[in-house]
Structure formats: structure tokens, C-alpha cells
Amino acid sequence: MAGPGTFQGGTWISRFTHHHVVVFLLTFFSYSLLHASRKTFSNVKVSISSQWTPTFLNKTAVKLEPVELWDSSHLFPNAEEATLFLGTLDTIFLFSYAVGLFISGIIGDRFNMRWVLSFGMCSSAVVEFCFGTLTEWLHFYNKWFYCSLWILNGLLQSTGWPCVVAVMGNWFGKAGRGVIFGLWSACASVGNILGACLASSVLQYGYEYAFLLTASVQFAGGIVIFFGLLISPEEIGLPGVEEEESSEDDPCRPLINNTDSEDHEPNYSIQEVSTIHQPKAISFYQACCLPGVMLYSLAYACLKLVNYSFFFWLPFYLSNNFRWKEAEADKLSIWYDVGGIVGGTLQGFISDMLQKRAPVLAGSLLLAIGSLVGYSRSPNNKTVNALLMTVTGFFIGGPSNMISAAISADLGHQELVQGSSEALATVTGIVDGTGSIGAAMGQFLVSLIQDNLGWMWVFYFFILMVSSLSHFSKESDLERSQGLGYGKEPVTVENQH
């Protein structure tokens, strides 16, 4: 059903103006900065925990003098408890982030997303500054204060993702969305690398400066977004993605369209007049009921669980299981990210070619099971392990990126919401929010399983999650064939016109 011109690269690439490039870069880097500040937190954990604890010596009888210098901080008696608290902060963050995503999506669709995104970035930068820098400057250490700041940070950070995905969805049409979003969803990984670089460059001055640096860069990013981000092409009089697609689609489509969604047919002439300039946002409940949204949300929860577990636990697993040095394990774990970036882009491209995302997803997840089995039996060899890790990243990180970005955008743009194009952020929020709940629970479950049953069972757990996921995506295939799912979208996007 692909129109003859759709995949001749030139057709959709030539439509891109410098506005498209700026939007791509701005959204890419705004989410990168948000992710960078999260990475900063995990990279300064060692410094923070030594700031929070007294000096520990093997000879317990000897207390180092002067006391103010070595023994004055007693937030936690030892490094283990500080680590436990930092882990708790991670979980708290993920949960409040998940809750925040549901809310932010709704907010994003009702207010100007430029303001929401800019506000989110700036305010979360202020919170991070208070968390890391201000408390240190004032020597005010309090567990509850830290917890409440991190909950607030989770809520504020969550404004980022739904808004950037929605803006990207507004600018980049269905054609080529897979590959562009695949490339674009590397922003999280780029943010990780950026955060690691920023943090390590100033860590010698004290961990508070790592927070100061990332927070101020993020704040600056928020200001730039406020002055530079066009949230949709319509703002400057360019045709929107739906308009574009309808203008280039082949003539037989409206016919299929009519047979598909007859119940929406009577509305659309009214919508055309009233909703394009003043789109009305759909409610949270309506967004949940959109076909595919719940299904993909649950699927994404399973996938993000596995994906984030890899992010959080991979260095620990490597240094624990193979007794490799922590710094080396950290470096090695980048390969998983690399696999995810390549996987997301390539699978996005393939799904563009097929104009179907579900089969690519299902195939990739099937291979993911295989790669997980393979990875769990990896020999104690860094090269082989890195290779297997890249493959695993390709088949797990890839689909994860695809659901969180491209498919979220698909779902938010589907036929049923044509009247209100402002569903995108809400839908993205729901999908990513459910995913983050899964990820938060995963952090807890992995440590539990690993403690009680060992690493092999962690992998069995991952395999179970991924298998249930393939089941989900098959179901969504079924839905599509019944003419309800997002898969119909290429046919129906032109509803409005």
C-alpha cells in the first residue's frame, strides 16, 4: 500500500526545511540534557556517599583528627547504607517520573508545549541545583529533604519526553518516521554520554559542581527552547504532517478509508473547520481507550523493565559475575547503548519500508529471546561479551526505542484522534509512564531475584518478560488486521481533508 513516491528518499527529505533540522536538534538535545542530569546523579554516587558518611578506617579505635575534616558528617553510618539510600532515590525517581508522565502528557496537550517543556527543564534544573549544590553549600543534609526534592525532580523531568515526542510527531510525518525517530531516540544514550563527560570533567571540584554544571546547562537549554522551538509546522504556516501526507497519497486511499471508519466520517467536515486551528485535547481516559495504547503500554512496560535493568545492572553484573574492574565494566556496557541506537534506527527504517511496525517488533523480540539466552551463556571474554551485548542491545534496545518514540507518535496520530491532533503528548505520556512503572518495579525485582536465585534466574525472568511481550505484539497484529489498530494509520491519516 505504499505510494510509489513515499520511499524514494528525496520525496520526504526534500520537504525538510531548516525548521525541521532545528526542531530535530532542539528536541534531541533538550531530552539529552534531561537524561544527562540523571546520568550525573549516578556518576557522582561515590562522591555523594562519601560526603554523607564519616571516615571509615580498618582500625576502628583510631579516630582521625581534626574531627571536622574527617568525622563530621553522619547522615549515614557507612557507605553501604548510603548506597542503599541512593538506590532508593533511584526507585523513588522512577516512580514519580512514571506518575509524572501520565500528568505531563495531559498538560502538554492542553498548554503550549514550548512553555511546558521550557518550564520543565528550567524548574527541574533548579531542583537539581537545590539537591546537589545548595544542600552542599549550606551543609544541610536531610534524608527527607533529599527524597522530596527527588520526587519533585521526577515529576518535573517527566514533562520532557511527552513534549519532545509530540513536537517531533508534529513535524515529521508518518513517512520516514521510523528511521528519523530511530535516529532521534539515540538522544537518551547521547545524554548518558554527555552526562558522564560533564560530571567527570568537574568532579574534582566537588560533586556539587557536577550538579551545578548539568543543572545550569539544562537551565540554559530550557531558555533556548523557550526562544527557539516551534511546536508544529502550522505555527509558521507550513502544512502539517497530516496535510502533507494526504496531498501526496494515492487516490485509492480515501476509498479504503471510508470503509474503515464510517462512524467518523460524518464528523470530519466539521473537524476540518473547527479543529485545525483550535484543536481540542482528548481526555486521559479517551487516550487510554485508543486502540493499541493500552496494549503497547503494557508491552513497553515489559520491554522497558528489561531495557532499564540492563542499563542499571549491567556494569554491576559484569563486575560481579566476571570479576572485571568496575571502570572497565562501565565502559563495556556502552556497547549495549550502541546496539540500541543502531537497532532502533535500522528497525525503524525497515518498518518504514514495510509500513508496518508490529511484524518488525515481533521478529526483533523473537530474536531478542535468542540473544538473551546467548548472552546469559557468554564466556568470560570481553570481546565476545561486548559482541553479544551489542546484539542484545540491538534486539531489545531497538524495539524499546521504537515503541517509546515512533510507535507512540503513530498511536497519537491515529485515525480516531484526527479531530484532536493534541492527543500525542497524552498518548506518549501513557506509554512511557506505564513503561517507567515497569522499569521501577524491575529494579526492585532484579535485585530480589538476583539475591535469592542468582543471575541465571534474572535472565529467565527477562526471557519471560520478552516472551509475554512478543505475545502482546502479536495481539496488536490481530487488532490491526481487524482494522482497529494503529497499523491502519497510513491509510487513514488523511481523514481530515
Binding site: 560526603q51 575534616l69 568525622d71 551545578l212 546547562v217 533556548v224 526562544f227 522551538l229 505555527e235 509558521i236
Partner: protein, 229 residues
């Protein structure tokens, strides 16, 4: 740990106040309180008396042997009915000779002689061990009714119990059997974890300028084109 910190700050205060008083008094330094702790002058036969009379520039006042600047170099508190040693002694931290014999105190807590880095001769009642233990002194001689701890050792190059300081810190002797860890040059902050200072002004200048330029540029090329509708 809070009491220890409190004690420390009290100790610091008790050291700082006489110093301030001495400064304010100007040329004629006031006699430190610890010299008047016990009535009468120093005993003729004491180590303090002996030490002070050997040196021209020192003079005896009350129980103390002082320099011209008023620094305590000797303190004779023998037969003073001291039941315990506490922070009042800290005033005499610069003492080289200290006589505490013929007093009924039973033990010395380790922190009493903290900061007594100059102390070379300490006379104690017979039953009392030298502070810091056997290895903190070069030799210990005991007479009929007193023991003398001679020449404190530098705890930082003590071979028996080597003092180990954490990363970025070095060892400084801090009295008999005691040492301190101070940050090596360039390092500062809690646990000496910080090195150098963050160029805050330069950083805010650069970031501010870049943000301003990009914002202007993007506003000109992007947002200005928004069509009012």
C-alpha cells in the same frame, strides 16, 4: 559523635580566648589563667624551675615559665590536688616542660594532651602511664614518687604503629601518641575530596553568552516567523 565535636569546639574556644585577651592587652601580656590555677609559685626543685632558670630569656611567674611574649613553656602543677585533668590544661599546649606529680588524678584521657606538640618533659605521679603509651616516648624514667616521660616521638614516622592518613592528606604530629591528618596542598573540603576551585565566574560568563546568542539566533530564525492566528 556530637559531644566529641562540641568538646573540640570548646577546646578551640578555650585556646582562642586567652589569645584574644593577650592580643588586646598589648605589651604587658596578662598571666594565663592556668598559671594561677594553683596558688603559690613553682616549686624550687621542680623540672620547670630547673628548665626556666637555665635560660636567660625565660621568666617564672606564678606556676608558669613564660617567654617574653607570654607563651607558656613550662607549667608546674605539682601538689595541686588535681582530681582529673580536663580542658583547662589546653591553655598550656605550648609547654615544653610540664610537672603534674603529687596529684590524686587516676588516669589521663587521650585527648588531654592533644595539640601538646612541644612537650618534651612530662612529670607524672607514679601510677600513671605516659600518655600515648610506651611507644609514644623516647624513654620513660621512674623515680621514688614520680615518672618522667622524656621526648615525645613523632607519631607520623612511628615504626610500631604507623599513622595512616587517607588519600590526599598528610600526617602531622599532634601531641604524645597523637596525630592529625591535614589536606595536602591543593586539596580541601570534607575528607580532602576537592581539588582546586571551580571557575564559577568564567563558567557563568561563557554559558550566559552562549545561551544568549543561541536564543537570539533561534528567535530570529524560528519564533519570529510565527503567524498570529
Amino acid at each position: 559523635m556530637a559531644p566529641a565535636g562540641l568538646g573540640q569546639s570548646v577546646g578551640w574556644l578555650s585556646r582562642a580566648i586567652p589569645l584574644l585577651l593577650a592580643l588586646s592587652a598589648g605589651r604587658a601580656p596578662a598571666l594565663p589563667e592556668v598559671c594561677k590555677y594553683c596558688p603559690g609559685p613553682a616549686h624550687d626543685t621542680s623540672e620547670v624551675d630547673h628548665y626556666c632558670k637555665q635560660r636567660q630569656e625565660l621568666k617564672l611567674r606564678a606556676r608558669c615559665c613564660l617567654t617574653k611574649q607570654g607563651t607558656i613553656v613550662g607549667l608546674d602543677l605539682q601538689n595541686c590536688s588535681l582530681k582529673e585533668l580536663d580542658t583547662f590544661l589546653a591553655e598550656a599546649h605550648s609547654a615544653i616542660v610540664l610537672d603534674l606529680q603529687a596529684n590524686p588524678f587516676l588516669n589521663i584521657s587521650t585527648s588531654v594532651f592533644r595539640n601538646f606538640t612541644e612537650l618534651q618533659t612530662l612529670v607524672l605521679p607514679l601510677k600513671i602511664d605516659c600518655p600515648g603509651g610506651f611507644y609514644a616516648w623516647d624513654n620513660i624514667t621512674c623515680g621514688k614518687d614520680s615518672c618522667i616521660c622524656h621526648k615525645q616521638r613523632n607519631q607520623c614516622n612511628n615504626t610500631v604503629e604507623p599513622a595512616l592518613c587517607p588519600e590526599n592528606a598528610y600526617c602531622v604530629p599532634d601531641g604524645p601518641g597523637l596525630f592529625q591528618c591535614l589536606c595536602t596542598s591543593g586539596f580541601h573540603g570534607y575528607k580532602c575530596l576537592r581539588e582546586g576551585s571551580f571557575p564559577l565566574l568564567m563558567f557563568s560568563g561563557i554559558l550566559g553568552t552562549i545561551t544568549f546568542c543561541i536564543s537570539i539566533l533561534l528567535w530570529g530564525t524560528q519564533l519570529r516567523k510565527i503567524k498570529a492566528s
